[in-house]
Structure formats: C-alpha cells, structure tokens
C-alpha cells in the first residue's frame, strides 16, 4: 500500500487507535477519580468505533433485508457493540457510584489526598 | 500372626497411642501409663518382627499410590529393623525418664509433650520401614513437624528462636535439596525403591551420580554434616528428654540411618566405589568429626558439649559408610545402635544433674559424683562408649569401622579415628575426673541428692545396656551382617 492509502484509507483505524491512546493516557495520568472514568469511557468508545467501522462493507447498504439489495454491511459487529455498550454503561454507572461513596467516606475524589488519608492508617 | 499384620501394627500402634494419650489429658497417671503401654506394645511388636527378619523374611506392605507409579509402601530390611529396635526400646526407657524429669521439674504442657513423642515415634517407624524414597520423605517431614512442638516446648523467646533454626535448617535442606534430588532420581531412574546394590547403576551418568550423592547427603539435614549441623545445638533449648530423644533415638538416628540406607540401597556400595567424584564425602565427614570435637572441647555448657559430640559421632557413621567397604558399612550400622545407647545415657545424666542440682555447666560439676553416684557412674560408662573403650559397645562399632578403614587402606579415615578418639577422651574424661575426684565448692547449694527414682532407673538401664551389648553383640552384628549380605 502506498502512503496515501495507508494514512487516509485506513482512517478508521487511526482514529480508533488515537482515541484508545488518549483514553488510556487519561486513565493512567489523571489523579481525579471521575476523570479516570472519563478516560476509561473514551478508551472503551474507541474499541466500539473499531468494531463498527470494520463492519462496513464498501457499497453495502444497511443490514435490512430487501429483495432488491445484494450487498449488506455486516450486522454482527453492531450486535456485539450494543452488548459492549451496555457493559460499558454498567461499568461507568458502577464506577460513578463508587466515586460517590468514596466522596462520602473521604471527602475528596483526588487520588493523592485519598492516599494521604489512608497512609497513616495502613 | 502374619508378618504383614505385625508390620501394620507397628505402624499404627504409636499413632493410636497418641490418641489415647491425648484423651488422658486430665489424668496424669493414666496418661503416663498410656505412654508406657504404647511403648512396650510397640517394642514387643518390633521384637516379634525381628525374629522373622532374622529368619530371612522381608515383610512388605503397600498402601496407595500417592503419585502415579510411586506408592506409600513399607519393606523391612535388616538396617531398618535395627533402627526400629533401638528406637522402640529406647522409647520405653525415655518414657520412664520423662516421667521423672517432667514431674521433677514441674513442666507444663505435659500431655502435648507425650502426644508429640508418640507421633514422632510413629514417624520414626515410618522412616525405618520405608520401602522407597517417597515414603521415606513423607515420614522424614512428618518427623520434623512432630518434633517442632517438642523443641519449642518451653514456649519462651529462646525456645522460639531455637525452633526457628531447627525448622529453618531442616525444612530448607529437605524441601530445598532432598526433594529435588528425589524428583530427579524418580525422573531419571523411573523407580524410587530401595534395592540391594542400588538403583542408579547404569541409569545415570557419573556426573549426575556424584551430584545426587551431594544433594542427598546435604539434603538429609538430620545427619548433621557440617555446615548444616547448626540445628543440633540450637535444639538444645528443649527439655532434656527431648534432647535425649532427638540425639539418640529418633531424629539424628533417622538422619544417619537414611545416609547409610541411601548408600547401601539407593546408590549401592559397588556403584559408589567406582564413582570417582564420591570421595569428598569421606573427607567432609572426617572434617566434621574433628571440628565438632574441637568445639565440644571448648564448650562449657554440658548439653552443648554433648550436642557437638553427637555431631561428631554422627559423622563417624557417615564416614564409615563412605569408606565403602562392607565391614565398615557394618560398623556404621552397629554404631547407630552403639551411639544411641551411649548418648542417651549421657543426656539422661545431664538432665539428671539439672533436675537434682540445677547445674548446667561443666565447670560446676566438681565433686558431684559423691552426691550423685548413679548418675555420674552412668555418665562415665556413656563417656567410655563414646571414646570407644571396652567394656562398652562403642568399642565394638569402632573396631569394625577401623577394620574397614584398614581394609580399604583409607589412611585419612584411620588418622581421623585416632585423633578423634584422643579428642573424645579429652572432653569426656576430665568431666568424670572432676565429678569424682575433685572437691565440691563449699559455699554453694550442694545439699542435693540423687535424681528422682524414675530418672535413675532409666539411666541404669541404658548404661547397663551399653555394657551388656559389649558382651552380647550378637543381635546388632547379625543384623548388620545381613544388611551387607555377608550371611550368617
């Protein structure tokens, strides 16, 4: 593949990877618990985009059966990602619930301050 | 009675006894009776087995396979028979002694003490009768675990630290060195059984054979080869009946028993004598004998002196076996019995002195022979046995070892034997002399008499045994001869 194809033809992969790295970085580098969850969400979303984008078939229509259409895009990734989105939502909900309870218990949602509060007791 | 049934009884009686002893917790007299009954029962069974084994029978009992192809199995051969005889007889004597000692010193946790003893003797029987290396390893570890509460009996800081050294060295050597050696043997040879002539010949290369010898010798921590001997003096924190058990009956004897058994039945005397890289064992054992004797010479604490004497005497057995001549192997086997009687007498005496006079150092023993004639008399006999002088059985075993060394022209061994005899005399005879011929210091609390009766009885039995075996060595010699296949 030549350069143009590699960069512009595979743009969906580039975007997915970019988002993946952004999300991953946010998770690792953030000290704020909610920001970590945000990063996690971005990370997960990149994966969703990756999956869905590979389902598209060039020249294929939406996967709704009609006698006149011959090529369809692949519906399976959509199904998989719906499931994954649900999982993601549950994860975020749970994560945020934890953050609420942590705030109640510690008074802060900054990781360093939580560590400091735990250290002497550890 | 079928001989296999006898064998199974020998293996279950001590354990059953332990349960009965545990159940007699609140009733000391009943508990002590249980101990004695169990010990006597075990000895009777072992004697019955001995007559069969001398007649040529080799009872075999196989339980299940723990690992595919390797079973928990038992087979009695002459060396194991001798070990079991010594152990079970001395358990009776040790129990009598313990009753006197534990009550005389008002020790706590006596039930735990007697229960652990019974379990340790059960493990000892298992070691003595194992048919293969796996069973041996199982009971070897059980012996370590069951003697730990005995070593740490007093429960104070010193006992805990002593226990740590004890367990640390024994487990490190067994799990760290012996176990890999066993697995390697299993993998290379395909069997772990004990067979006359050994199982390694033709199956492993010479380098591996040498490596295995090294691993097994240092993996058997209970044989106290230097430098892994440290657990022995560390275990002196235990009450004296435990030291007597550890240093005469169960633990150390298990160690050297395993050494001799491995040399004769796993490696094979013939195989080893052709192995060029096996000579180090003789030199290391010889060095251990001498170095330990020197340390004993410089120890004032009586039990410490006896501990290092034990280290030295154990290496006598190892060195004798390492000479790799049938006669010296016989000497090694007989010495297992000889040293047992002698050393237990010495430890009994040490405990007796502690119980009656509360003295622990050699320098405090001036003139004590006047007040404790039975104790010091027994001590003298035990000392003579260590030195190897007639009319004690120590002479007989030394005689055989010397014969073997001469036969094999092992000059180093002969030198070591001569030197160590001198050293033994140097650290034992002065004690006897001081006890009988020096005047006791006047202003100390010397108004004590002999030790309690139970202790004196035990002392006399073992000291007497040391002399009796000199005049009637038939049984140990016959068993030893049978082991090396010289018939008769």
């Amino acid at each position: 593949m030549d350069f143009a194809e590699r960069v512009f033809g595979l743009y969906n992969y580039w975007i997915a990877i970019l988002l993946m790295m952004v999300g991953f970085y946010v998770v690792m580098a953030s000290r704020n618990l909610i920001k970590k969850i945000v990063g996690l969400t971005i990370f997960q979303t990149s994966v969703f985009l990756l999956y869905i984008s590979i389902g598209k078939v060039r020249g294929g229509s939406a996967p709704i059966i009609d006698k006149s259409i011959e090529t369809y895009s692949n519906p399976l990734p959509h199904v998989l990602i719906l499931t994954a989105i649900v999982v993601g939502v549950a994860t975020v909900a749970l994560g945020l619930a934890f953050v609420v309870r942590i705030k109640e218990a510690y008074g802060t949602i900054e990781e360093d301050e939580i560590h400091k509060q735990d250290e002497p007791g550890d | 009675m079928s001989v296999t049934l006898l064998l199974s009884l020998a293996l279950t009686v001590p354990l059953a006894g332990a349960v009965l002893i545990a159940m007699s917790d609140r009733k000391p007299n009943q508990r002590e009776t249980m101990t004695l009954v169990t010990a006597v029962a075990l000895f009777s069974i072992v004697v019955a087995l001995t007559t069969r084994v001398l007649a040529g029978e080799r009872p075999y009992l196989e339980l299940l396979d723990i690992l595919p192809g390797f079973a928990l199995a038992f087979r009695i051969e002459p060396l194991g028979m001798m070990f079991a005889l010594v152990a079970s007889f001395l358990w009776i004597v040790n129990s009598i002694y313990s009753i006197g000692y534990m009550r005389g010193n008002n020790e706590k946790h006596q039930t735990r003490f007697y229960v652990c003893f019974a379990v340790a003797l059960w493990a000892t029987m298992g070691v003595a009768f194992s048919a293969n290396l796996l069973s041996l390893f199982v009971f070897y570890e059980l012996l370590t675990i069951s003697t730990y509460p005995l070593v740490t009996h007093h429960g104070d800081e010193k006992a805990v630290r002593g226990g740590r050294t004890y367990l640390g060295i024994l487990l490190t050597t067994s799990i760290g060195v012996m176990l890999p050696a066993i697995i390697l043997t299993a993998y290379l040879v395909g069997t772990l059984d004990f067979k006359t002539g050994g199982i390694l010949a033709g199956k492993v290369s010479d380098e591996i054979g040498g490596l295995l010898l090294f691993l097994f010798m240092y993996g058997t921590g209970k044989a106290a080869l230097m430098p892994i001997h440290r657990w022995l003096p560390a275990a002196m924190v235990a009450p004296t009946p435990v030291s007597a058990l550890l240093h005469a009956v169960a633990v150390v004897k298990a160690g050297v028993f395993i050494v001799v058994k491995l040399i004769v039945y796993t490696f094979g005397i013939g195989y080893l004598s052709k192995l060029t890289n096996a000579e180090w064992l003789l030199y290391v054992a010889g060095a251990t004998i001498l170095i330990a004797s020197v340390i004993a010479l410089r120890s004032d604490n009586l039990k410490r002196r006896l501990a290092y004497s034990t280290v030295s005497q154990l290496s006598y057995v190892i060195m004798a076996a390492a000479i790799l001549v049938p006669i010296s192997a016989m000497g090694a086997a007989i010495h297992i019995a000889a040293h047992a009687f002698g050393k237990i007498t010495l430890f009994f005496a040490a405990g007796s002195i502690y119980t009656a006079a509360h003295k622990t150092e050699v320098s405090q023993l001036d003139g004590i022979g006047r007040r404790m004639p039975w104790t010091m008399g027994a001590f003298a006999i035990g000392a003579l046995s260590m030195i190897g002088v007639p009319p004690t059985v120590g002479f007989i075993s030394k005689w055989y070892i010397l014969l073997g060394a001469l036969d094999a022209k092992a000059t180093a061994a002969i030198v070591v034997i001569v030197l160590s005899t001198i050293l033994n005399a140097a650290y034992f005879l002065p004690v006897v002399y001081a006890a009988f011929f020096r005047k006791p210091p006047v202003d100390e609390a010397h108004n004590h008499g002999e030790a309690p009766l139970a202790i004196v009885i035990a002392l006399t039995i073992t000291a007497g045994g040391t002399i009796v075996l000199f005049f009637l060595p038939g049984l140990p010699v016959a068993l030893a001869r049978s082991m090396v296949g010289l018939g008769g």
Partner: protein, 495 residues
Amino acid sequence: MIDAHLPALQIVLPLVAAPLCVVLRDARAAWALTLLISWAALAIAIMLLVQVLATGPITYELGNWLAPWGIEFRIDGVNAFILVVVSAIAAIVVPYAYASVKAEIEEERIYLFYCMYLLTLTGLLGIVITGDAFNIFVFLEISSLSTYVLVSLGRDRRAMTAAYQYLIMGTIGATFILIGIGLLYMMTGTLNLADLAKRVPPIAESRTVLAAFGFITVGTSLKLALFPLHQWLPNAYAYAPSTVSAFLAGTATKVSLYILIRFIFTVFGASFAFGTLPLDIVLPVLAVLAMFVASTVAIFQQDIKRMLAYSSIAQIGYMILGISFASVTGVAAGLLHIFNHALMKGGLFLALGCVMLRLGSVQIEDMRGLGKRMPVTMAAFVVGALSLIGIPLTAGFISKWYLVLAALEKGQWYFAVLIVLSSLLAVIYMWRVIEAVYFRPVPNTDAARNAREAPLGMLVPMWVLIGANIYFGIETSGSLGVARRAAAMLLGAGS
C-alpha cells in the same frame, strides 16, 4: 430430558436466582436460595465432568442455532475440571457465609450481597463453559462487575477505593481482551473458538493476529494478576469481606487463567505461542518474578489477609510457570495447582474469616496467642500453611512435585531450583504467623481476651476445604488423572 440441557442449566440457574434474591429481600431467604442454587450448580458441574470423562466433549447449541453462527457451549476435559473447581468453592463458601456475612455487612444489604454472589457465579461459570469468544467477554464483564460490588461491600472504607482501582484495571483488561477478539474476528469472520482454532493457524503470522494475541495475553494477565499487572489484587483481597476473599481467591483469577490457556492452546496453538512468539521466555520470567517478589513482600505484611493476597500472586506465578513449560506434565501441573491452590487458599481465607469474626481484626499483632483461644481454627490454618509450603501428604506437595518434574523433564533444572527456593519463602511468611499465634502472649485487649472459637457453621466448611487438602494429597488419582487428561488434550488438539 434434563440431562440434555445441563450445560444451559449450569448458567441459567444462578442467573435467574440472582434477581430472585432482590425480590426476596430477606437476608435469610436470600442465603437459603444461594445455598440451594450453588449446590445445584456443583451437582451439575460434577455430572458434566463425569459425562465428559466417560464420553468425550459435550457440545450444546444455545437456542438450537448451529455453530459457528450461533453461540455454543463446549465442555471438554479442561473446562469441566474448572467448572467443578469454581462451583465447589462457591458451594462450600455459602454455608460459611451465613455467619460471616452477618457480622461484616449491614443486615439491610445482605440480600444484595447474595444477589451479586450469584451473578459472579453465573459469570464465572459462563466464561468457563462457553465456546464463543465474545460470549467470554460478556460473561467476563458480568462476573467482573459483580465482583467489584462484592469487594466494595467490605467494612473498611478502603474497600471502596480497592473496588474502584479493581474496576479501572479490570475494565482495561477486559477491554484489551475485547480488542483482541475484535481483531481476530476481523481476520477470520468467526467468533466460535473451535472455528477460530481452524482458521487462525494459517494466518497466524499476520500482524493483526499477532496484535490480537498480544492484546488477549495482556488483558488476561491483568485479570489473573500476573506480575507486574497485579496491583489491584492485594487491596481487593485485603479489604473485601472475608467470604468474598475466600471465594475470589479460589475462582476469579483461575478463570482468567483458563481464558489464557484456552486461547494459547486451543485457538493459537502451543507451537505458535511458545515457538514463534517468545512466550516461552516472557511467561516464565514473569512467573519467577511473581514467585519471588510477591513471596518476599508477603513476609513483611502486618495484615494477614494482605499477606495471603501476595501469596496468591506468587502461587499464580507457579501456575503460569507450569503452563509455560508447554509439556503435558507442565500444563497438568498448572491445572492441578489451580485446583490445589483453591483448596489451600480458600481454606486459609476461611480461617481468617473466623478470626475476623471473633477478633475483629486480622493484623498479626492482634492475633498473638490466638492458638489457645481458637484452637480449631488455628489448627486448620496450620494445615493450610503446611499445604502451601508443600509438606508431603498435602495437596501442595503434589503440585510442587509435578512442577519440579516438569522443569526437569525440559532440562531446565534452574527452574526446579527456583520453584523450591520460593517454597522456602512460603515457610518464612507462614511460620511468622504460626509463631505469633502459638508462642506470643495474648495482647491485653477485650477482643483478644474474649475471643472464643468460631461457630460450627463456619468451622465445618473451613475444615471441609482444609481436609480436602489432606485427602487430595494422599488420594491423588482423581485430581491428577483429570489434570493430565486435560493437559494431553490441550497439547494434542492445538499446536
């Protein structure tokens, strides 16, 4: 008739029972339902194992949709074995949970605990039983999410942060696995494991598949707490309720290990993973690091639950080492240790739960002299410790033997030495506790002086697990036999 649907029932029963717990609301009723269902699940798992050993792998199509388009459950020697391990631990822990949970979680929330417990069980069993890659991800997330909740129910507020950290790291791990599965799907067009096994090897060298393998390996390593991705485990095990620690220690990481095994041996093949790719170097190195670093850290812990958590990380190192030998003995050793470790660690954590109940703490300082006040519990702890160290006649000894044998068979004697040396570290950290418990004087606090033995409902399950250590250390033909068959099948089928 029911026989034919056992595989489905294995999942459906706990799945349906979970919301029922919420409906029931009452703590006792929820517990009773959980007890019933977990024992039923165990019965089903045993029946499935027996069937697989007798007649070979079982295939079950969900909804009668044919594979590879439909989702199928595929049970062979390996996952039948793991099914039994997981359901057995779950079943033994529930009777114990009655008293333990009452003491550690508020009454009004206990029914939620049991709901999550059943959901976790569903998820874990589902991961093991399914033959579809994406299904693995779904069940993985089901079990993970409910596990996060279980961990967060601990008394200490640090349980919250531990659960949060576990959530973040666990989700990253699961997402990595998802990426890997997606890449594989991209290249082969199928999600069925058996189908993947056929289609992947021809294209295994392509960059996409290599990337997929990488993602899956890292993702599962995060979930199974392979060093250095183990950071979440110590806190999670230490601050979770005692029952949860006991349950998780025997199941959660093992199931993730199963996922790794399944992908390495069935989908990609041993020769690819260990020959073409450098896993035969990477995994053993990480395993050895786990064994030594984790054991050493364990020695210095004051919180004994934490100490056992680090010990678990080390034990997982053993399992990974066994697997990475890629020989029948090695993989069998790893599989066997999954079983034996569940017995050991489960029993040890249950013992600690008894201590927590009576003492309110599991700090080594507070546990001094406990041997006199809680003799039965501490005796169980000692036996568990002996098994962990690898004393003969215990299950741990058998695992150690096989691991060393596997190393020797491959001529890698240095691993044999390392395995044995790290066992000695276990002696140090376990004996530290035993010394404190038996030889130190009782501290002068009310809790210490009033401590008495735990209730029967907790002692019995604990001794069942500990007793199993001894049973399976002597009667080994069952566990070893199954492990060896499973290993042979894994190595024969793949590669």
